[in-house]
Symmetry: C2
Subunit: 400 residues, 2 copies
Amino acid sequence: MAVSAKIHGFMEQGGWIRKMFEMGIALKEQYGEENVFDLSLGNPVVEPPEEFHQELLRLAENPIKGMHRYMPNNGYPGTRQAVADGLKTETGMAFTAADIVMTCGAAAAINVVLKTILNPGQEVIILSPYFVEYGYYIDNHGGTAVIVATDESFQPDLKAIEGAINERTRAIIINSPNNPSGVVYPRELLAALGELLAHSEKKHGGEIYLISDEPYRRIIYDGLSYPQVFPHHLNTIVVNSHAKDLALPGERIGYMAVNPDCPDKAELADGLTFCNRMLGFVNAPALMQHVVRALQGVTVNPLDYQRKRDFLYSRLTQMGYTVTHPQGAFYLFPESPVDDDVAFVDALQNWNVLTVPGRGFGTPGYFRISYCVEDKVLEGAMYGFAKAAEEFGLQGAHSD
Amino acid sequence: MAVSAKIHGFMEQGGWIRKMFEMGIALKEQYGEENVFDLSLGNPVVEPPEEFHQELLRLAENPIKGMHRYMPNNGYPGTRQAVADGLKTETGMAFTAADIVMTCGAAAAINVVLKTILNPGQEVIILSPYFVEYGYYIDNHGGTAVIVATDESFQPDLKAIEGAINERTRAIIINSPNNPSGVVYPRELLAALGELLAHSEKKHGGEIYLISDEPYRRIIYDGLSYPQVFPHHLNTIVVNSHAKDLALPGERIGYMAVNPDCPDKAELADGLTFCNRMLGFVNAPALMQHVVRALQGVTVNPLDYQRKRDFLYSRLTQMGYTVTHPQGAFYLFPESPVDDDVAFVDALQNWNVLTVPGRGFGTPGYFRISYCVEDKVLEGAMYGFAKAAEEFGLQGAHSD
């Protein structure tokens, strides 16, 4: 066989998001692009902020000698300093450039963190619903994923997490604002989670890392200020990317930040830098490191997304859908009107509306809507949502 | 411990190139930058070709809508087509865009290939002297590196390779022009290697992939035309980057190309695309994919490097050093005048000349000189080389 047996198996399982992506292409060919309402992908249609274009143009017009060469594997000191300064402002904590490693996006960062910390047989807790690739990332580096369900509001269930922690537990990955549920974890909950982890570290005699995946940190609504994760656990590593806040998902630019109060922060940062190299990332793309240095305070306007959320949430709840009100990211995770979420997603697809079944996130019985699309796509999808609501007998459903 | 036991061990061993890099920083601080002659790194000081700057400027001035978004994980169809067209011209073989996967450089590509093909317990042959990180890459994906020495001219030793092949052999990595020796593998040798691999595949009943790491393919001298690897083995995957030919090592842009005549090429390309995503690379940086699309025929001028090689080779041989005459890349790999290459590299360091001991490439008794530096650095290093030659009693040595 050309590919390994394991990879062959993974590819057979496919991935729901990829399946919907391919289905989207087929439907668009059949019905025309404007008649297919693709809400399956987290690929923002917004363009990067004007400041990004200006900075890129400035660098293209005034190239710096050596600006495309290798730099230290952890990134340019100036870029790391800019990220540290930004985090200092956001958290009030004493970040320095030494706490930052620039990476090829957040997916790279999570892989690098797991490679750095995992010993064979160790476990990583992930909370369902979860970004399905976490499972691959953990497997890549010899770890075992332990899935713990969130509560009915998609918030971490501390009792359940406590029950899952044992002497093999090496890390827990959290993601707030959350993909796919859109919920933001409140400060009190993070504080309690931090206490639980510190207590468990003492009990089992080893570090339990809190890996906080924060690409949606700046995409929050209702005037909320982001409840920071860092202050609540010493062994915290934040991974981030500029895929969403600067709308640069294709550029693969992000970072890892180690808690400045972490007792082993120097060894940890050295390990992350080493693994960034040995996994073949080597360093984050040079030009984008130059560009984002000046843009740490810049972000796309979350009010655009908030408006889309408001439209979608109010229309869907009117139709009778049950939806947790999300306060960030650009996803809605409604209950499927029937237990079989794949059957419901298929029904929506008959109306040319593409979504992803909840089992693609380890949580059957729900489906994910991505609303980082143009308004006309959201508006166009409403007819299909209404027809499907009617078909499955939702209270309040009427499709006229 | 903050990092895993294995990573801790790897970091303790360090890496010679990294050690010399850090030593360079310390010496430059002590003696001043202009008094340290750092020949330890493959970080070209040449700037990218003018066509690169023009293309980057054109894109920065005329942004394409959506040009920073996600694209398919194997890259933009137009960029893959451009790479396929270039390979078609170079090899005369029928490449299509479907045979190409864009990657975050060649280090990423090798990791993706190994992840895709390796089953647990399988072996990968590498030829010493070799780029030391190959060992990490193989270990990353559960493989075992089997090291086979090259012959006295640093050419692959087919008898030795044949002796190393068994039913667990899954791949062999070759690198021509070679880092660290600078030698180019001739056509006849590649043909014989291809025959050996095909014969071994039949004997053991499984694919043996020829992974050809070709970042220096365009950096060849003496009017040589590159002896292509593809025509000699069906199960060939070429990995490449634009780090050297376009002088963009910091940008992490490269590709994998599957032999268009490979019977399983579709499954293989799908597997490579899948693993590109699951390892967290996701896709090659979008902007660089746009830029290099138009630059597949462009390369830095190899004559600059040839001139540096000529200078260095003639001066060192005059001093009595024994050096294989290299026909590509930008490295020289002379014999150490004493068996202990680390002692000799230390002696050179006393003259503020930084090189890398051969044991950093699995081949003690030699040392590597990287000459992708400014002429004045090469010229400045001559005094130290002469003094060290004298110190170790080389015939012809005189340091005046």
